[in-house]
């Protein structure tokens, strides 16, 4: 398991994530008027090649958006290719989706989900973050050895839209210095 986080720190972080993600899912459910189930947040440290593995699938579309604030990093959203039409209907898009409206839908979804996750995460840890516009991410073009980092902390949550094939995974990736900020915050919380 994580070399960067102790067992205690990880458990605390997971608990915090769980609470905040629940709130995020609730807000989302209200917006699109559908039932949403949520996985237990996963917290892992990965190296570049493990990170790259995540993109070796044709089940998902990928988006990315960066966030700035007291912690910095990027939020990646994996959106199931199956069930895009269903969720498009729920989100009030004209069906069938053409390429343009599909991309619009995916980016909007990604922004809502990643925004909800990051908001929850920041609020619980009393951090402030600001998310930028999401863009589509074509990960196949990236080689693992082109990344400028050796390992990163991933906070991953899976959303499932009940009664559809649609699911989505939100991965919050923190950059090196931000991991230290996070650990300090966790320690303060644990000491309290």
């Amino acid at each position: 398991m994580s070399m960067l986080l102790s067992e205690l720190q990880r458990d605390a972080l997971q608990e915090l994530m769980n609470i905040s993600m629940g709130q995020a899912a609730n807000a989302l459910a209200r917006l699109i008027d559908a039932k949403i189930t949520l996985s237990i947040p996963k917290i892992v440290v990965v190296d570049a090649s493990e990170f790259q593995q995540m993109f070796l699938t044709d089940q998902y579309w990928f988006t990315r958006q960066s966030f700035l604030g007291s912690v910095k990093g990027e939020a990646l959203t994996l959106l199931a290719r199956a069930g895009t039409e269903t969720i498009g209907g729920l989100m009030d898009y004209a069906l069938p989706l053409d390429d343009r409206s599909k991309e619009e839908l995916l980016l909007e979804l990604a922004n809502i989900l990643a925004g909800a996750c990051l908001n929850g995460f920041s609020t619980q840890l009393a951090l402030h973050t600001k998310l930028s516009m999401p863009t589509m991410f074509n990960a196949e073009l990236r080689q693992a050895d082109s990344f400028r980092w050796s390992s990163t902390l991933l906070l991953e949550v899976e959303f499932q839209l009940e009664g559809t094939a649609f699911d989505s995974r939100i991965v919050i990736c923190l950059e090196q210095l931000s991991i230290d900020v996070l650990i300090n915050k966790l320690n303060t919380l644990l000491e309290e």
């Binding site: 807000a27 917006l31 009030d92 409206s101 991309e103 619009e104 909007e108 922004n111 809502i112 925004g115």
Partner: protein, 437 residues
């Protein structure tokens, strides 16, 4: 200068549209960017519902703003998907070809208490320049891609043509070689043939002589001589020799005649430039050509002939037309894998004579039909065909102002019909009657 005044001034100087709404979509603030472009100063719109100010975009704006209000999370609008949310005219009215401004919009949550969002801030960015640059780029890359694809097709065609050209050169060389060999063989065949004739004559005489001696010996009635004759006959198996010798010679003469015929035809065909215009009987031409193609057809091909009687002669280049017929016959034979039925038909139709060559082969695939007469197009394995036969035939027939038609259903054979005007092409004046291909 105090801080709020500074902020206000800054807000109005920014190249960004800023508009703040409350939870009821009422305008709390908008900066000069909005005023300048809508013609509505802030004082006039303050407290008005934004959705009513922009009714065309109300549904989209409401959706975006609601998402911010509910989720307390920024929302974005992209020029790629919604290029002109606010109907602002282009920032380049003189030099640009765009009429409307391309916009990226951020919908940001503003003040909030108890996680309920009180205000929403819209930040509009003019990305017209970026958008038109991007679109030009995309058009360019689409064009490049198309050109690349065309180039690839051309390259493939070129390499195909190259290999076929190589093949046809090889075939031409073989043809020349064959013509040369035919010429060389012609001489020995000449004297072999005449010698065989003489030999037949001599052999007949020798056998007559033997018969004469036989008669004389039997006349003598001398038992010793008769016994001696019987012994010698038996030892030499003369009775067999006597019957076999004429047959052998007849067969040989027949054989050498056939060789001579083949050589003659080979020579006739290697002289493709012999393009004399003259009246000719197409059925005779077809029959002569059949003889040449005989080795392709002889095994298991059954030939059915249906020639109309009293067909007029056609003014044409007989050698060239024979070349066309040969192509059709060889193609038919190869299509049937040398066994099946070959139907030959000839009839008069108005002022033309038509010849049909129909086979019982597997037919022609529909996707090949349109390319049949294309030079270098062949479905035969490499080395079997040049892909030139039908295209050459087509050009010969067209030169005669005739028609070559093809009909085929997969699985039901193929039919080729050549129709030639009886009077020949309209412009076949004597001046170019000896024109070569």
């Amino acid at each position: 200068m105090d801080q709020p005044h500074l902020h206000l001034q800054l807000n109005n100087r920014l190249p960004l549209g800023i508009c703040v709404l409350d939870a009821a979509y009422q305008v709390v603030y908008w900066n000069d960017f909005f005023s300048d472009r809508t013609g509505l100063p802030f004082a006039e719109v303050q407290g008005k519902n934004l959705l009513e100010l922009f009714p065309q975009q109300a549904r989209y704006l409401k959706k975006k703003i609601d998402s911010v209000l509910v989720l307390n999370n920024a929302s974005f609008s992209y020029w790629e998907h919604q290029p002109h949310v606010f109907p602002f005219s282009s920032s380049r009215p003189i030099t640009g070809e765009e009429t409307l401004m391309y916009q990226n919009i951020e919908f940001l949550p503003g003040e909030c208490d108890d996680s309920a969002v009180r205000t929403v801030c819209l930040v509009v960015q003019d990305v017209t320049e970026l958008a038109s640059y991007f679109q030009a780029e995309q058009q360019l890359s689409a064009r490049l891609e198309q050109e690349g694809a065309e180039l690839k097709v051309l390259n493939e065609k070129l390499s195909m043509a190259q290999s076929q050209l190589l093949q046809s050169e090889k075939m031409a060389a073989i043809g020349q070689l064959a013509a040369g060999v035919a010429h060389e063989i012609n001489n020995p065949i000449g004297f072999i043939s005449s010698n065989l004739q003489t030999l037949q004559d001599y052999a007949t005489r020798l056998l007559k002589l033997t018969a004469f001696y036989e008669k004389i010996v039997s006349k003598t009635g001398n038992e010793t001589f008769l016994a001696l004759q019987r012994d010698t006959y038996q030892r030499l198996q003369f009775d067999f020799v006597r019957t076999d010798l004429p047959e052998l010679l007849t067969e040989s003469i027949d054989g050498i005649d056939r060789v001579a015929e083949i050589v003659k035809n080979l020579k006739a065909f290697s002289h493709v430039d012999n393009a004399q215009w003259q009246p000719a009987n197409l059925v005779d031409g077809l029959e002569n050509t059949l003889k040449i193609a005989a080795n392709q057809l002889k095994y298991h091909v059954e030939i059915h002939r249906d020639y109309a009687a009293d067909l007029p002669e056609v003014y044409c280049q007989p050698n060239q037309i024979n070349q066309v017929l040969l192509n059709l016959l060889v193609n038919a034979a190869q299509a049937m894998d040398h066994k099946g039925h070959l139907y030959l038909r000839a009839w008069q139709q108005d002022q033309s004579v038509c010849i049909e060559v129909r086979d019982s082969g597997p037919g022609i695939a529909p996707e090949h039909m349109s390319r049949l007469f294309e030079p270098f197009f062949t479905t035969k394995p490499v080395g079997s065909g040049t892909g030139l036969g039908l295209s050459l035939s087509y050009s010969i027939v067209k030169k005669h102002q005739g028609d070559i038609l093809v009909q085929s259903q997969p699985g039901e054979g193929a039919s080729f019909v050549v129709c030639l005007p009886i009077a020949g092409p309209a412009d076949s004046s004597p001046a170019d009657s000896s024109r070569s291909v």
